[in-house]
Point group: C2
Chain length 464, copies 2
Amino acid sequence: MDDIKLDYTNMMASVVGEYGIHEDELEALRPQSEEIHHYLMTRRENGFLPFYELPFNTKILEEISTLVEEIGGRYENVVVLGIGGSALGTIALAQALCPLYHNLMDSGQRGGRPRLFVLDNVDPMGFSQALDILDPARTLYLVISKSGSTVETMCQFLIARERMEKALGAGYREHFILITDPISGPLRRLAESEGFRSFSIPERVGGRFSVFTAVGLLPLALVGVNVQALLQGAIAMSERVTEPDIMKNPAYLNAALQFLAYRKGLKISVMMPYSDRLRDMSDWFRQIWAESLGKKNGLTGDLLHIGPTPVKALGTTDQHSQVQLYVEGPFDKSVTFLIPENYGADLIIPAYPPAPSLSYLEGKSMADLIRSEQQATEVALTKNGRPNCTISIPEVTPETLGALVYMFEVQTIFAGGLFKVNPLDQPGVEEGKEFTYALMGRPGFEKKKDEFERWYNDIRRRSL
Amino acid sequence: MDDIKLDYTNMMASVVGEYGIHEDELEALRPQSEEIHHYLMTRRENGFLPFYELPFNTKILEEISTLVEEIGGRYENVVVLGIGGSALGTIALAQALCPLYHNLMDSGQRGGRPRLFVLDNVDPMGFSQALDILDPARTLYLVISKSGSTVETMCQFLIARERMEKALGAGYREHFILITDPISGPLRRLAESEGFRSFSIPERVGGRFSVFTAVGLLPLALVGVNVQALLQGAIAMSERVTEPDIMKNPAYLNAALQFLAYRKGLKISVMMPYSDRLRDMSDWFRQIWAESLGKKNGLTGDLLHIGPTPVKALGTTDQHSQVQLYVEGPFDKSVTFLIPENYGADLIIPAYPPAPSLSYLEGKSMADLIRSEQQATEVALTKNGRPNCTISIPEVTPETLGALVYMFEVQTIFAGGLFKVNPLDQPGVEEGKEFTYALMGRPGFEKKKDEFERWYNDIRRRSL
């Protein structure tokens, strides 16, 4: 059992009032939910939703463990060149499952494992500062792009590749592993023509659903995460999230709660872990939720442009930044707390007689404090009529994180059905890509350049 | 001149249509704006808005530079214990103004300056992992709390203090500097009774407006930021943001644009720097904007609960995560791009004949790419009717960042007037604090414990 718990007490109207959800609203979703469930199961059987099967793929585990054994100790640095779905799962899970100061430890403290750098931007200052601290001879690059042509990642790759060849000569190729489409695209062709080692991202697995492929598993395994346990956690969750009854399926139920909250005007969905290690799960979730559900769909009116806005927050930190707004501001958001029941460490607060006004803390622990603060914030929100729910995991482990990721993936796919959008595409980013190609002079995009000019330079610009 | 530019072309209805702003709407704000301006200037003259004067305080610069000279080279680690306004300015400005991998460099590369750790949470795992990597003899703690009683910071302090005393004996006191109220509170009393070195946060300067006091200046100076230049930048901005005419004052104008956008239902305000170094400016802004404006005010109806929700994004990274939603989702947000005109470094994209389909990138630079992507995203949003504006700074320097921070501070205070809220208080977080005290057994909060029970344990809990 994965033991992940979804507590939705404070999503209900009986507790939070006007903006809460009524039992009968959940009930009313049953027929539609059953339809969506059957649709998903049929799509799955027919091979159109392969993300469901990824945790069951033991072959990839063998490939990766063979590779890690062969080369794992050889490098001081593993560098991911990738963006969006090629980066966010690795960032979130490394933050959760490596020591928090992994990169600051010396090699012995890291058990001989490499440091991890995920370079997911193209700021020339940021990228050149990264290259400056990476010893070419001790660095392995994982170049990750499903299409094999993502412009940011290709730009990084071309620059890093040249540097490495200059530093290391022909043997530089061993320092690159390409993770891309099994058949097509520039990276796949380079793997074939230039002999780079490569891994495939299975067909029909989109970037934001790819963390259980080599995209996430390889970098995580290289830095010491037990990726087998990660997949076992996902498998342990798989039964719960294929249960047809929304009241028994945490992924479906949470999707339904979020959908109903959205319909009541709570269009912002805050994810607020109370845990340093779970901090970046919000960034991973932010992508899968926003990019899957933020769509122009086939409907009209208010439903033409749809999609909840996920917001990242961190407890207790953001109590001193965002909670004022959450408690008193507009009724336009729900909050999902994400908490580990056990923090895996604790610190007792000692006495300090010169500060008598702090003596109430004596003998309590830091875990007592962070738990109290989460519960206090929960009750403050609830009392002020602000819907919120809590997802708890027993402890931050590869198993629980694997289960959590799998649950959120299914939740997202199911929510696509409720919101009546295709959760697997992202047509709205195509136009920006085309304008970028036009500005970068890629052949075939000349007309887009003209259009850009009309919107950028041919209008009266106003500035101060 | 600070040369910060606010380009608001794409906020206007003439460009983006329905959700854009009309000239006459800006004009109509003039009388109210003049009133707010005069109110602010009067409050300022009477000493109620001392944040305005902070950059002009040369005395603090002398004190800090004396201290840095005395002890700066002695430490390998500077650790800030603080949360919210005691942490976010330092995090944002260190990210902008220190080398990005400052903490990974060896002492020589850092010019003998210490590493910086800002510990702004009470996760026992996170805090104990931090303590484990900090050599007591080489570590300086800055304990920052205006009230001197912030529970998270006091908990950290009590634990770290005991560790340091055990490791270093009576001399441990030299490893702590307290930054707190000039007169009252537990930290101030400890500074007096125990002889800890201390700095004062001037009266009436709230946490989120305190970055130009010792709160931000001391840690930044210790790690090598030119804090004098930072304040000079703020001073250079001060004239522009005290200009009465909203059409000539970038702080007032941006507040007005954001206010009008909010009134049109764009209640989410995304800040999206295209720069690794400017990344955490969004977190600092998120606090000042949300906590100052997210309020229950004296009005009724839709205006009873008010406040824009600031959202952090990063370009180009979030083009692969959030932009799908921004382009196609509901019309509920505006985007503010934050860009440096000069990235301070550049990398030319080299040729790579084995990948002919990437040859269009050859000879272009990474700065060309990130600029093209920002402009492409800007035009994609604009074409889809999504209001957006761009704040540009010539380069990321202490001067420009000082100017930017000062501009946003004035923008926030002025926006308080437009939204008709008190931007200096945060009544909505008091209740959560009281529930925390009750749960932690602080004397005087017994009744709050009973109330907590009613909301937490005495209701039917629903979970799965």
